[in-house]
Symmetry: C2
Amino acid sequence: LAAVKLLVTGASGFIGRHVLAELALQNNFATVANARATSAHFAQHIAFDPADLLEPGAPAALIARVRPTHLLHLAWEARPGRFWTTPDNLRWAAATLELFSSFAAHGGERAIFAGSVAEYDWTGAGVLYEAMQPSPATLYGIAKDSVRRLVCGPVAASVTVAWGRVFWLYGDHEPSGRLVSDVISALVSGATVETSEGYQERDFIHVEDVAKAFVTALTSSHLGPFNIASGVATPVRRIVGLLADEAGRPDLVHFGARASPAEDPPRLVGDVTILRDRIGFSPTIGLQEGLSRTFRAALHARAAT
Amino acid sequence: LAAVKLLVTGASGFIGRHVLAELALQNNFATVANARATSAHFAQHIAFDPADLLEPGAPAALIARVRPTHLLHLAWEARPGRFWTTPDNLRWAAATLELFSSFAAHGGERAIFAGSVAEYDWTGAGVLYEAMQPSPATLYGIAKDSVRRLVCGPVAASVTVAWGRVFWLYGDHEPSGRLVSDVISALVSGATVETSEGYQERDFIHVEDVAKAFVTALTSSHLGPFNIASGVATPVRRIVGLLADEAGRPDLVHFGARASPAEDPPRLVGDVTILRDRIGFSPTIGLQEGLSRTFRAALHARAAT
């Protein structure tokens, strides 16, 4: 594996930092981690190449410096409240296409991209299969879908591409403004948690399993999209309930205090046949264990500050 | 109109040179023409800014230099035999998104893009309306469709975007490797023209009308896609027959000498309601006149060499 060199973008992000931890454990790849930050604390044996991929020309320059054989492209705007609609989705699409074109032109062999459940049509059936016709409803989803159609097309016979559609992930270092992180924040500070009735079902997966799925995909032969999901539909109220039990504060939760969003799909769950059979990965962290670990890590972080 | 500044990309291309001629006639815009070539002969009063938009960072740098209020983006890979499948379609998509993002960020107001009939689903009905769900079958069509979905989305309220889908254009300076240019080349050199039976119907429009449609769109208020088409379905054999008549050499044409491509759609014609009513333009160059002019221009160019 001496000639194998992996570039990971978005390395300081929610998924990226768990990917680097997994890569450090496996030690199969000579890895270069890219992130915007000019300083970052990464695991031993992982080189760091800081660059803001939204700077004009930066993606091509990064590829020219690193000359990777493998690419795991996680970088994208992901800030809650912002990523669905920001015009930066166009800049990320442009940067991603430039990155991939340069990767292919420099002899890259295998590329894995972070896609999203937002590429799917949410108005139809509750089980989402990779073969379904995508129909994204948001600018973020359109941008991801557009890039996927281009990089998974018959572009460069020498590059194989797989595209991991991430479902509802949670876990340590989840940014605030998201369900699990915000519920935990409220619970550990003794604040009231006001939620909808929460009967809508979603497919939750722990971020460490997401990271392992991406790393496993690097050495699989699968082409095209694959769901990164648990395959299990869980009512959102069960997530909140488990966290409240973990905190010993079910009294803080007020189900129904907020109205459910209009047209909120009742059930969205990923089919995991391709993940299991073609990528060769199945999630191992169950919901109860995953939420418990996430809660305890948050408590620990809070105590340390 | 003192504050109006127009940037035209692809200015030395088949459509671009006719656009510049039209702009020189109208003299409504302070125009900067971009093309890859380091030297180009453009009309008076049109400035030239040479740049290869596929160079990393070049689109953003061009916008920063020109600071246009209006953008007419024609540049793309268009060489016959190459443009349908080249991986450069991804680079053009990236460059186009970078160009548009920079344009919007620098206060751009109105942007017109060159789309294509290749964005449509060719397997269904013969009349193609803008409201139809696109279903491109080629990498070129996918790239155009992907960019359109992103630049015509709700990105920047301050920029209005229209997207002209060009049908089968022909005219002076048409590159070789295309129907009209190749048939004329054969006829003027006395070579045999071997074609299919040519019963398939397409929507042909003269390049000067295409150019005028784009220029008119710059000052229209239309948002989103619009067909640049004649609205008339013409059998391909009629094109060949008219050119042979013009040359006085119908004997050179062998209809049926080539097989028709498998799954060649029998009829593809653009609805022109939006072009007429929303853009405010209708083509004025009829097929017989347009082909006659194109043939005589080719004869003239041949005599001059």
